[in-house]
Amino acid sequence: MSLALFQGRLANLRRRIVAALHFFPFTVLHLLIHAARKSGGTARTAAAADAGDALPLRTLAWLARLSASGAPQPIDIQLRLPREGEGIGVPDALSAMLTFACVRSIELSWDDRVSATLTDELPEQSLPAHAFEVPVAAEREAQTLLKRLAGGAAVILVHLREPFAAARSDLYFFQLDAAWGFTLHERMALVRAADAYIGASDTLGGTAQLSGRPALLVSGTPGTSEVAAFLDRHFGAAASSTPARSSTSPGS
């Protein structure tokens, strides 16, 4: 048996013993031993002036920059939010934070006055796959759904407010719609499972960029020639003239 294998088994045995002894009075020992241990890592604080729809992207951008900065990990983050006003972006901001494995603790605190420090600015480079992960169940569902809908064809995830006319017959256009009922993690997983992204520069646009997917980020409806050029650049020129394939919303 190699030394590494032996050490691995020893560590596993130790974990199992500790788990088995997780009852009183051993919990007191856990408490004291843990409290005596030193912990490394980095603590970072940021503040948002409003906790509405823009908060998830800003949180994603903040953590992506932190993750790319080479700051010692794990990271403890504190996000200060205004006590009054809208807070509907908070759950999605928490979802975004949970995708970063390097984050050891997340603290939200509410104050009467906060000065905003968060911005939308993403790092220029995409992140390594292990740095930024959506839950495995969401990944699995996304991969399975796209496989069932598109088979082996390349999938373009479309996230626009207006209906989008699919431009190419050799590609599959998956159009996100609220009626699909996806959570943020599920939507992020779909972006990561797709081959390219066309849509808003929001949390999903950020996910495409951080995951290294080709992305056409737009604020309204993209022009036909803009889309054609984007697709030609990343998937080559169209090969056939069969009708384009595209998802329709379940509510339609």
Binding site: S39, E86, G87, E107, A178, T183
Partner: protein, 320 residues
């Protein structure tokens, strides 16, 4: 002068990932804070990523826990005294925090001893009932922080001028982790009820709440039904809608706990007999000890006629 903020601890190594339990815990925190004279609460949720599960939920493991906690987090935003919410994914960091709080004799719930013996009373209403008995009032939950205005706007936009009933039909069999399926409600009876209600109560709109997987297509296509999850909304929105609705009707489950603890008019159906000892109500009792005339418990399995009867009874007690 108000005391130091109360420290509330929810350790997922012995407390379940469940909506009703999270809300009951929050209600207990409110009660504990009021009794300790604290005007603010700091909530700490603890998960050990290597062993994130507990003995009740074997399906929670290092690969699944992020999705599961993500689906539950808005439930921890419902205390009006909430000052901070911390999610810790590291047992040593949590234990240092805990020891520091104990050294400063900071008020906390559960107590340090209760935490160390891993006995959190996350189900029963014992403390809540006692508080109500002593003081005649309770510190209720609110809509999740920052969602109240949104819920009012939603109502104005989608339900203008109508009587709004929030509905939850427990369909655990369709969920990600089926458990305790004997608590599920009969969907066909609810569908029949909603079809009949469309004729008998044309001014009523029903908001069907719950996970997207549990949403029935038959319900979705009814003209008097709105399904927030099929509109791209999440748990935070749904809890705010329970708070904003005129009435809640639904199975004894997580959303029923929200209606109970934010003091809405409600009809909670299919209450399990074994739950009687936890809530301090004898089997067949119509109200919680702190419940009013328009807050009704039904211990029977639902039928369309029974549901119509409940709606009729409560509609008559409530202003249009």
């Amino acid at each position: 002068m108000a005391g130091a903020p109360l420290l509330g601890v929810y350790d997922f190594s012995y407390a379940p990932y469940a909506l009703g339990d999270a809300l009951t815990w929050t209600m207990n925190l409110n009660v504990a804070a009021e009794e300790a004279g604290c005007d603010a609460i700091d909530q700490v949720l603890v998960i050990d990523p290597e062993r994130p599960g507990n003995r009740y939920q074997a399906f929670v493991n290092p690969h699944t826990y992020t999705g599961i906690i993500d689906a539950l987090l808005p439930a921890f935003l419902c205390s009006p005294k909430l000052r901070s919410l911390r999610l810790l994914r590291d047992a040593p960091t949590f234990n240092r925090l805990l020891l520091g709080a104990a050294a400063r004799r900071r008020p906390m719930w559960p107590s340090l001893l209760r935490h160390l013996v891993r006995r959190l009373d996350f189900i029963s209403h014992r403390r809540i009932n006692a508080h109500h008995r002593e003081r005649g009032s309770l510190p209720w939950l609110t809509a999740p922080r920052g969602f109240a205005t949104w819920a009012r706007e939603f109502r104005r936009w989608h339900c203008a001028g109508r009587f709004v009933v929030a509905v939850n039909i427990r369909q655990g069999a369709l969920g990600h982790a089926p458990a305790n399926l004997f608590r599920d409600s009969p969907l066909s009876e609810w569908c029949a009820f909603l079809r009949q209600a469309e004729v008998r109560f044309p001014d009523v709109v029903f908001l069907v709440l719950g996970a997207y997987q549990e949403l029935s297509r038959e319900l979705w296509r009814l003209p008097n039904v709105l399904a927030p999850r099929a509109m791209g909304l999440g748990l935070g929105h749904e809890l705010a809608l329970v708070h904003e609705a005129d009435l809640f009707m639904g199975s004894s489950s997580g959303f029923a706990a929200m209606a109970t603890f934010c003091n809405k008019p409600y009809a909670i159906t299919n209450v399990q007999h074994q739950w009687s000892r936890h809530i301090g109500v004898p089997v067949g009792g119509r109200h919680f000890p702190f419940g009013g005339a328009n807050q009704v418990l039904s211990w029977e399995r639902e039928s369309a006629s029974r549901l119509l009867g409940l709606l009729e009874e409560l509609r008559a007690l409530l202003p249009s």
